[in-house]
């Protein structure tokens, strides 16, 4: 049990319920209402709400989802997910078209995107292979080191990554006669891929592979004794998570129209961890909730500060305090709050959940 204890205490707060696949069934009415709301949002939301609030939320949510998959089901907190997304974004700019014509190869968009996702997935899998033999804080250290190395490499390499300025004017392609750069098509594009990623994680978490992965999280030694190759399972989990992060990275570079070292700098890398933790690591919907809160805080903190008569320059304070409050009152993020509230008011008959592993 020593292994189990160190793993859970190192990764998830002890009181947080570990995710189980069965809890992800979309049987709640709230989920259907949410789906309906997201589908008809373009009918009344402005372009800003569609692209800048929700489009960005879906993209960050997907990247955080890949971390949630590794952290929640595999017990591996990987800080490399934002870097995988950044790598995919860079590859789209390098193989596709951008304003930096002397580097960009100008391949057709579909080829560039496929190659980008393959390369980013390889990169993420390789990073996973380097870090899976470590536990807890050491995994965080190794993946953070890889992320920083990638950041400094892109910053100083001019022949491939164009250094400090990166690539600008990376356009969303026009396909089937639709301008995917326009607000409504881009919104549905990001929504589509976010839903696909969400369903993929739900599906994989219930598949034999996902169950085995949760087994390695809960007791790696016992899984090994049962004949499972723990290392291979973990690397495969990295590969799967990298695909999600890579797809999000392609959307990210299209969303901003450009990519530069700061896109996957140390700040954004840590932001993804904050999003996943604040949203909740126990279910795949958590990262998306965290991403929405993050986007709202980042976008409106300065306005809120000024509205209540405080110095707008201190807007970071509100962002920090917001996340601090969430984590302080609920170690399992907003999801934990919701679950507790749900239990108290809607399902009083249900027995109180036990901490730790079910």
């Amino acid at each position: 049990m020593a292994v189990e204890a160190s793993r859970t205490s190192g990764i998830l707060p002890a009181s947080a319920p570990a995710p189980t696949a069965a809890s992800s069934l979309p049987r709640y009415p709230a989920l259907w209402l949410l789906a309906l709301f997201l589908l008809i949002l373009p009918a009344f939301g402005s372009d800003f709400v569609l692209i800048q609030l929700f489009g960005w939320t879906f993209i960050l949510g997907m990247i955080a989802l890949s971390l949630m998959f590794l952290g929640g089901y595999g017990g591996m907190v990987s800080l490399v997910q934002m870097t995988v997304a950044g790598c995919a974004g860079y590859m789209v700019a390098i193989f596709g078209t951008s304003a930096v014509a002397e580097i960009s190869l100008g391949w057709p968009w579909w080829l560039a995107v496929v190659v980008a996702i393959v390369i980013a997935t390889l990169f993420g899998t390789l990073s996973g292979a380097l870090s899976v033999r470590t536990e807890g804080i050491y995994t965080i250290m190794i993946t953070l080191a890889i992320a920083s190395a990638f950041f400094y490499f892109t910053l100083q390499n001019y022949s491939i990554f164009n250094g400090f300025s990166g690539f600008n004017a990376v356009r969303v392609p026009q396909v089937f006669g639709i301008d995917w750069r326009a607000a409504v098509p881009f919104y549905y594009l990001t929504l589509f891929w976010a839903v696909i990623a969400y369903l993929a994680v739900v599906y994989v978490s219930r598949s034999p592979f996902g169950l085995a992965l949760q087994g390695t999280r809960d007791n790696a030694r016992r899984m090994e004794a049962l004949g499972f190759n723990v290392t291979a399972h973990r690397i495969a989990a990295y590969a799967f998570a990298s695909v999600i992060a890579a797809v999000a990275g392609v959307l990210l570079v299209w969303h901003g129209g450009q990519i530069s070292p700061g896109t996957a700098g140390v700040g954004p890398v840590v932001d993804i961890l904050i999003i996943a933790v604040a949203g909740g690591m126990s279910r795949p919907i958590g990262p998306f909730i965290g991403a929405l809160i993050y986007v709202l805080l980042r976008t409106f903190a300065l306005d809120v500060m000024e509205a209540v008569g405080l110095d707008g320059k201190r807007f970071q304070l509100l962002v920090g305090v917001g996340f601090l409050l969430i984590v302080l009152f609920s170690p399992d993020g907003v999801l934990g709050l919701w679950q507790r509230w749900h239990r108290r008011f809607l399902a009083p008959a249900a027995p109180p959940a036990r901490g730790g592993v079910r």
Binding site: S165, T263, D303
Partner: protein, 417 residues
């Protein structure tokens, strides 16, 4: 309670999108770096904007001016997010910003997708922004990084008699652009740049570079800024460096000269160039410095306005002057407003500024030298002003186009181009 708060924040933000826009109001969005390495410059930009707003009493062309600010962190990502929020959510009519180079290029690209909004560059100085694929509704009332060194090359050869120099600069686009401007003029005047050293932005340890600096040159050009510049001065003085130094536009500005420590004494007498000088006996400049000093208490400002403060002040004055001339008429896709901006000759505190056909500033440049004031403060004193500096840098347009854009190796040092 937290959820209610967050829900309120979310609802407030989404509802604000629908707020009707009053006809007697003009909204101006401002992008400034209020986090990250360039925070102090962004804050001074805000001060410049606030002074101009106060002077105009928040009114121009018979309309009330409302300002909405968004903080960026000097990355193009954050600038784009900010611009989207200001344009698509707050529905600003005019956007002023950003502060730094790569942000400027990103905003130029974004401006092409928002033809109903007029964009004024804040203080960003990348050459590409207006030199390559300029945008119809993007105006820049400040000069680019290459223009900021105009006049220095000739001054070094003719007045200082520096015939051979080496260059040490940070490895990114702004120092490339600056060295581009210096190289063209210095080499045409007969000077030679024998060696270039590139260090990463944010270098803390210059030991190995200092050991490599050549002895057989007349001077060393330094294209560093902020903390890197301070670190270099400290380490160079500890290493007993004796070479004569030349500064890029942000090597010896107030952020460096007002830092603590004795090493900056190396800066005394260093020639440099830029779009303004701390000490210049022009009455308009002195009035601006006085206004700046009176507007904020000493601990909430620099000794004298920085170039971002002046740039944002100029932008707002340009907007106000044109709005007053056209009675705030922004109809027909800002037609009158844009024509007014394009034709404006701004009588700015740092010299007259007008725009070329790419809506890029043709302005006055300053050759400066660092002097010590009686109270021990170090300041840049104007020794020479160069009027009408354009992006062509004194070359004919065809030759200028042929040379292309700045990079580590471009342009070569040649006596004629």
């Amino acid at each position: 309670m937290i959820r209610t708060l967050l829900a309120a924040v979310a609802a407030g933000g989404i509802l604000a999108a629908g707020a009707a826009q009053a006809q007697d109001k003009i909204k101006i969005g401002v992008l400034a770096t209020l986090e990250g390495a360039l925070t102090t410059l962004g804050e001074d930009a805000i001060r410049g904007m606030q002074i101009a707003m106060k002077q105009a009493n928040a009114k121009a062309g018979g309309k009330t001016i409302e300002v909405v600010t968004f903080p960026t962190n000097a990355s193009p990502d954050s600038a784009i997010r900010g611009a989207r929020k200001l344009v698509e959510q707050d529905k600003v009519d005019i956007l002023v910003g950003p502060v730094s180079g790569s942000e400027g290029i990103a905003i130029r690209d974004y401006s092409k997708t928002q033809p109903q909004v007029t964009f004024l560059n804040g203080s960003s100085g990348a050459m590409e922004t207006t030199f390559v694929t300029p945008s119809e509704n993007f105006f820049r009332f400040n000069m680019d990084g290459a223009q900021w060194l105009a006049g220095l090359g000739k001054y070094l050869v003719e007045e200082k008699k520096y015939k051979k120099i080496a260059a040490l600069a940070e490895d990114y686009s702004f120092p490339y652009t600056q060295l581009f401007g210096l190289t063209l003029e210095y080499c045409q005047a007969g000077g030679q740049i024998v060696e270039k050293f590139w260090v990463p932005l944010g270098t803390k340890d210059f030991g190995s570079i200092i050991a490599k600096l050549p002895d057989d040159v007349d001077a060393i050009y330094l294209g560093l800024g902020g903390g890197d510049a301070v670190n270099f001065f400290n380490q160079y003085s500890q290493a007993g460096g004796k070479a004569k130094l030349i500064g890029g536009s942000i090597m010896v500005d107030q952020t460096v000269l007002s830092s603590k420590g004795a090493a900056k004494r190396l800066a005394i007498g260093v020639p440099s160039a830029g779009p303004q000088a701390d000490v210049w006996d022009d009455p308009k400049w002195q009035a601006w410095v006085k206004l700046y000093q009176e507007s904020f208490p000493p601990d909430k400002r620099f000794t004298s306005p920085s170039l971002t403060g002046t740039a944002y002040y100029n932008d707002f004055n340009a907007v106000f002057q044109v709005l007053n001339a056209i009675n705030g008429d922004l109809s027909d896709g800002h037609k009158k407003f844009r024509a007014g901006l394009a034709a404006l000759e701004l009588d700015a505190p740092n010299g007259k500024i007008k725009l070329d056909q790419n809506r890029q500033a043709i302005g006055t440049n300053f050759i400066t030298e660092v002097v010590e004031l009686p109270n021990g403060d170090l300041v840049n004193k104007a020794v020479k002003t160069i009027p009408n500096v354009s992006q062509m840098l004194g070359l004919d347009p065809a030759t200028r186009q042929k040379i292309g854009l700045p990079s580590r190796t471009n342009p070569e040092c040649k006596t004629s181009y």
